[in-house]
Symmetry: C3
Subunit: 673 residues, 3 copies
């Protein structure tokens, strides 16, 4: 039994609750809190996330009395504690004593006091103080009966340009490259005469002036992720040294570019996600779905934790739209549908002051007699009904490549044919038709095993290392279908253009050589004709591509590249590659992707279901749980079922057709066929 299995047993299935910050309130409030938590069905809280200043009001002077009381109170009321190390919020005395702990920002100025995450992760001073408070907490609470999980720090993220960062960066580079010749070669420092002759000459990129060395920039991104990870591991190892059977995690963020979560996930018992889909964005639930698939995939399909979401509006944006009635519940079910084992919120009780005084909470400013709290109670009831799904997961036949190195290469390293690539946008463009047609999707990093998949989708994989490229090639050779879009396989893991013509890594795979990349002018539109006579348009990009073993699925019907291939098919070994050399209009793009998936023999979960209804399955050896979620706030939907089952939300048997009201949902439990 893993630590997470034990946790699931302990909370009786799914965790429900949120960040609890009792240090913001007088003790008189705590009892009301706990009473209302019980009313709402809360079984888990994240405690003490920003409580460092309350726990260690002076250097080395600790005050745990209040926390003892809260831990006891929670335990007495059957609420489990995900206890945080408070190291995301160093107290003011720490930075006042040691201002060098403040991260120097990209503009050369220190971050200053008054927010959170105001530390250079490479600072030995910060790390030392963080270790001390972590040790004290672990000493005191490792065996407290309320302790159910460790929440290490919070939303690791700062990028720092301090002297200590440079020292750590040099250490990191020495480990990676061994000697300066290798580093100079990796960074192509012979270009523009940037050759390093002493390790001490190397500094973190102090100011992001235009046109930084792209390999140095890339390594700085990697280093920043690793420096933060070192902080996490140090604290994790401390709490684990006291007791080994409590799960440990930290909370990640949605589409977060600063930390390579593929490297982080193995260091955690479960990955946990903070996500704030913007209600003002009509597609935010689709990108949420992708992130949920990513989080399920980060630990190879194991259930994950939804650690923070908002009960209604947030307060950090320029415009903070509320979640309309029913939207919060639907989003919560959506996370569960893609293998979350918890629904948790930031935060339990709305703050009266401070930066996030208008961030919604489970218990809002308007108190228990409010729309929000009524919805919280209703959801708490449903969480219990859904307990059977806990621990179950899913696996699909389609994998989408999502890789931080590729992300950084495309967006952070400058000097490519066009600078407006958005990695997440291109990933979502590839993911959306699959989501709309109800195909389950897994997410994979470069270089991972592709066993069991029939289709691999590779969106604009500009930067990929040799092993990652080789794995894709093998996958195709062994019979897989690869759907790849332009500007893939261009540079190696050091951001150097691969030799022997574009796309260096994949020339044989796609069966074509690209003479030159032709980004399109603004508003330029090209006519494309498919082999079967269908016409479409494309924009934004064209490869000047010369077929070798490949054949054209579509060609340009106008322009200087008229007659040249726009979409390439290449039979490769036992497999098949479909390569998109231009940005097709949406419907044509979707057709290419969906045709390739169908040709690979992959079938969707359900057919004839409108795209505003999301369908997902999770399950175990005994059961599967089909989630049907109507994201439309206006339209009803009818979903034809293949087999009858029990809707866990209503307890009724359903068969034939399920009717869903706007924002309606069903969770149908069926025995495994």
């Amino acid at each position: 039994m893993t630590r997470m299995d034990a946790f699931r047993n302990r909370v009786g299935g799914l965790a429900y609750g949120g960040d609890y910050n009792p240090e913001q309130w007088d003790p008189s409030v705590w009892r009301e809190d706990v009473r209302l938590m019980r009313e709402a069905g809360v079984n888990t809280v994240s405690l003490g996330v920003f409580a460092w200043a309350s726990l260690e009001p002076e250097p080395g002077k600790f005050e745990f009395g209040w926390l003892d009381e809260v831990m006891d109170l929670l335990h007495d009321n059957g609420i489990h504690v995900n206890l945080a190390t408070p190291t995301a919020a160093p107290p003011v005395w720490l930075t006042h004593l040691h201002p060098e702990v403040f991260p120097i920002m990209a503009d050369g100025q220190p971050f200053g006091f008054g927010n959170r995450l105001h530390y250079d992760p490479s600072s030995p001073i910060y790390r030392d103080y963080a270790a001390k408070i972590t040790t004290k907490l672990a000493e005191r609470y490792s065996f407290h009966p309320a302790l159910a999980m460790w929440h290490i720090s919070n939303e690791y993220g700062p990028t720092a340009h301090n002297e200590a960062s440079s020292v750590n960066f040099r250490r990191w580079l020495r480990r990676k490259y061994g000697d300066l010749d290798t580093l100079n070669e990796a960074w192509t420092t012979r270009f523009w005469g940037q050759i390093y002759t002493d390790w001490d000459q190397i500094e973190v990129p102090n100011i992001p002036r235009t046109w930084m060395n792209p390999s140095r920039r890339l390594d700085f991104k990697r280093f920043t992720s690793d420096a933060l990870l070192e902080c996490y591991i140090a604290e994790r190892d401390i709490v684990r040294s006291f007791r080994d059977d409590i799960p440990v995690m930290t909370n990640f963020m949605r589409f977060y570019r600063n930390a390579d979560y593929w490297k982080w996930a193995p260091e955690e018992d479960a990955v946990a996600l903070d996500i704030y889909p913007n209600p003002a964005d009509a597609d935010s639930h689709v990108s949420a779905a992708f992130n949920y698939d990513l989080f399920r995939s980060l630990k190879g399909g194991r259930p994950w934790m939804l650690m923070e979401q908002a009960a209604s509006a947030v307060s950090q944006w320029k415009l903070n739209i509320v979640k309309e009635p029913g939207r919060m519940r639907l989003g919560s079910l959506q996370a569960l549908s893609r293998a979350a084992d918890s629904v948790m919120f930031f935060q339990w009780r709305a703050s009266r002051g401070g930066q996030e005084r208008f961030h919604s909470a489970m218990l809002p400013h308007s108190g228990p007699d409010s729309r929000t709290f009524r919805e919280i109670i209703d959801l708490g009831r449903e969480m219990k009904l859904l307990a059977p799904v806990a621990g179950t997961t899913s696996r699909s036949e389609i994998a989408v490549l999502f890789d931080w190195d590729g992300w950084w290469g495309l967006e952070e390293t400058f000097g490519i044919p066009r600078s407006d690539f958005s990695y997440t946008d291109t990933v979502m463009r590839h993911y959306t038709p699959l989501w709309e047609r109800h195909y389950p999707v897994d997410v994979v990093p470069a270089g991972s095993s592709l066993d069991g998949y029939k289709v691999l989708v590779v969106p604009n994989a500009y930067l990929i290392d040799d092993a990652g490229a080789e794995r894709i090639i093998e996958f195709a050779r062994d019979g897989g279908t690869v759907i790849m879009s332009f500007f893939s396989g261009v540079v190696d893991d050091r951001n150097r253009v691969r030799p022997d013509g574009y796309p260096g890594a994949f020339r044989r795979l796609i069966g074509a050589k690209i003479d030159e990349y032709w980004p399109a002018r603004p508003h330029e539109v090209f006519a494309v004709e498919f082999a079967d006579g269908r016409r479409a348009t494309s924009t934004w990009w064209r490869d000047d591509l010369h077929l070798e073993t490949g054949t054209a699925l579509a060609t340009y019907a106008d322009g200087l590249l008229e007659g040249r291939a726009a979409v390439v098919e290449n039979r490769f070994g036992a497999g098949r590659v479909v390569y998109l050399a231009t940005l097709l209009e949406q419907s044509a793009f979707d057709s290419v992707v969906l045709d390739a998936v169908a040709a690979a023999g992959v079938r969707p979960l359900l057919q004839d279901v409108p795209s505003h209804v999301e369908c997902s399955v999770r399950g175990d050896a005994a059961h599967e749980y089909l989630f049907l979620l109507n994201h439309s706030g206006e339209l009803n939907a009818s979903v034809p079922l293949e087999a009858e089952g029990t809707d866990l939300l209503t307890g009724t048997t359903v068969s034939g057709t399920v009717e869903l009201a706007p924002l309606g949902a069903a969770v149908i439990q069926r025995p495994r066929a």
Copy 2:
């Protein structure tokens, strides 16, 4: 007789003139200046505003010879002097010796030399040098016969982030809060663990990183205003210590967010305004009118000084449009109509070089034979004709709340449901229908007496202290009409959300509880239906509001809040409250405001006068002066009069209907009824 009464007697009614900077010119020019001043009817000049470097060329070495000569020359020609302390422009030797005097800007960089206002107002070094030059000036000129007024420094404004600012900020906070517990509570520092344990840990917000503690930010705004005010008071007390019967003032600015003029005004003999309405902005005369009303109100209705305006174009904007012929005269009359007792300009003679070489002047680059100088002469003649209005004022039955705390709360403290509130825009939105219909309006701060008013207008008063809220509640209870718009009464004076449901301060006043604030998506439009069946639209904001004692004047006719109140009426004590819970389209908004005013029994100055004609009255026990100002450059206007009078500009008797040409004006003197 007040000091200002004496000043008025001395200048024979209205002051006319401008900033005079003889130190920019050779003495040979001075005599021509004075000759042309006399030709133009100039009777007052502001002298020496930036002359520090000319008066104290080296530390402690003073040169007053040139100023003696100028003072004598002016006096000999009957021109009165508003003598400036030159402390807005510290000499280069001062900042060269003491670079720490430069204000550190929000980006962490010092302001540097070469502009004005390059000082940290908290700097003891700056204050010391400023006191010395002020003392020297006062010693020498307090009894010079030309001296008619003291002009302390200029356009107080710098925000500084220096170490000296932090020292002064801490002193200010100690005075305000007494102890750290109170400060920590006020700032809600328990949120995000920002608890201060030593005063020395507190610094001015050094860099406006996103998401600063909103209470700290608010106090920093208050502190900055107060630190500047300390500078003013120090210099004022010096000049007053030499002679007590000369009025003292400094010049304020239009809609200036950095200084709380309600706190400043009591420290001055008269408030003085620098205003540069942008001729490119079609509504600039309406916001000018509001500022004039504000300035009249700042000292409880006493006449104020128009201290700086431009004769034609300015030079500080990206596009500097000239004032078309007649526009400068009309704007000058507008200031007089709202109780200005002076018309003055920056500056007398256009500079040849320097930053403002293209700022227009009374005497422009093109010399006396120019459109501008001819208009200056004409206006000088009219100023004499208008001498009877000097010293008179007005009082209205409508008050509009305008409050710096409320302004800062709404615009400077982040983290509210939407960040694009403009306090001045919302104030102007409420003021404009009243201006267009010729209602006189006074302006009041939070917490002031409301005796004598029938209507109080409260635009988006997000932040208001307990006393301010209580005064409004009393006003309604005692029979007043309150027109209030959404997002009012939300937080206390420490920027903490008031407890017990929105809007904490005014829930009983408006007779409704707001469950949640629903800012609208961009382009979202709502249908609203009034009780009488009229329909309108609204945008931008909705309260999710639940009526308690209030009733709906209008409800939403569509959307998720369909049927919920959009405009609330609440009978409260002997009074009436009209609360706007959404942003109505302009015409509907205006109707709600004007209907409420009419229902309160307030009548406009004139009826059936088109909105491009501005009507205002000032007067005393014996006479009233009705100003009619046609702001249209194209349309004529006929204004029906209720009683005959004498047009001071023409000396003719007018009755029946007054005809105004485009940009035309009349000032009709009538005996008090």
Copy 3:
């Protein structure tokens, strides 16, 4: 024989090649490089531009072995070397030892390591190291047989705000002004009390806060150009001290605001241009033409060097469009048509890594079997055919004023009636109708001799010194035609408004006094009527102008200036002045310019040739070479010839009409009539 004549003889006419950076490649690549260079017809390379770190890997330790080998290899293959001093790229050890060498940028932060041009040109440390490496290079290679030219540093440009800059700025100011009184007068420091009393008080403008003293700012621009020029001269003098018969130059940039190339050109044997016309910009070839005319004019009509261009796309922009097939060749011929004596590229071989890894090269990533390299070979062949044009030039009857002081005055000194003047846009607006109608144009600085010209075009010459103004006045008095546009002659060379009414320098010349400048509101359009009844519109600007000796060619037909002159004609001495007091719509503007040119008796090169065909002539006493260049990628063109000749590109005789395919070209050699 000049040094450049010798160079031309040596390369056999035109130079062809590019930047060669062998230090980026293993020696094994060098032999392939040279083989392909020979295949492409390359005869010249720029060598070692960024090789400092490779030549001096440690302070004072030099490694020339690799360069010896490359120099020998090139020489053995008949390729001439333009050897660079590598001082644009200081090695990391230099800035690590001396971080004060980094230029402090306008934001107060040092530039940091990792790009190029990371030096303060005023730094004595930088200058000292630069002198040492230059001396070493000159010692070793001055008599190497491959050496054909010295390429001093690269693209001089950095603006620095260091302490060393301030020291040098003060030295520069002392030389210029002699004493502080003169400086204070020049800078109008009596405005705002900025009077300097000690030289040490003067610093470079440390931060470009809004509203800097405009004269100080202007001098800082001049100083920056001069400080860079000092660097150039120092290195030039070193190499010349070793050997006097080798030409020396540095490479300039297109429309580069930071260096006054009129001051630089006399210090060079030839001016050299780096130019990257943006293929995404439909008019980039017209601004290229102007720059080519400027470069020919910089040294009084002597042929110049095209030193860098791209073979296809660049990589520094947000969107980097490729040059379509044929576009690179056409652009190369265009440079030759306007008296370039070389076609060179950055760079020979595309880099694998570094910032410019996607900058196209003569030898692209796709290798010799590529569109680009085939075009390079073809052009190499044509360069040989065009050898006869080498050394020839042209002279025209029209001069356009283009002046760095005027540029800085208009764009860098703030506080003028509108801030959106673009000096290059206005110059191009005046140049374009002449270019479209095939008029040759020379470019002149303020104050230069105007002998031999019939027409002088003066675009928005806001700032001009007395001598420059006087030269224009003399030119008109002596019979020339001056076409001048508004806001000219306003300030003197110290940025002070000239006295006695606008436009101070040219009031008598244009025969009108301007009372006031009236910039237009956005979207404001004025009707203008010409004397012959034609109507047009104008926007953006109007002078409020009063005719004195001038007469109206066109008047406003509406608005407040109705009936006032919009275009003025003034007979002045033996000449004629046409003054545009407003911004006419394009066709009317062009007519005014072209009518004035025609009236001055100037004829175009060819008539009845469409504007997409560019026509230019260069020649010598014996021959003229008519270049016909079809810039359209879609249209054919027929060009009627006046006399027969030989097309050097085809070797055939042409007469009657020349047919040009899209992007087609002809270079017709004809004997001088």
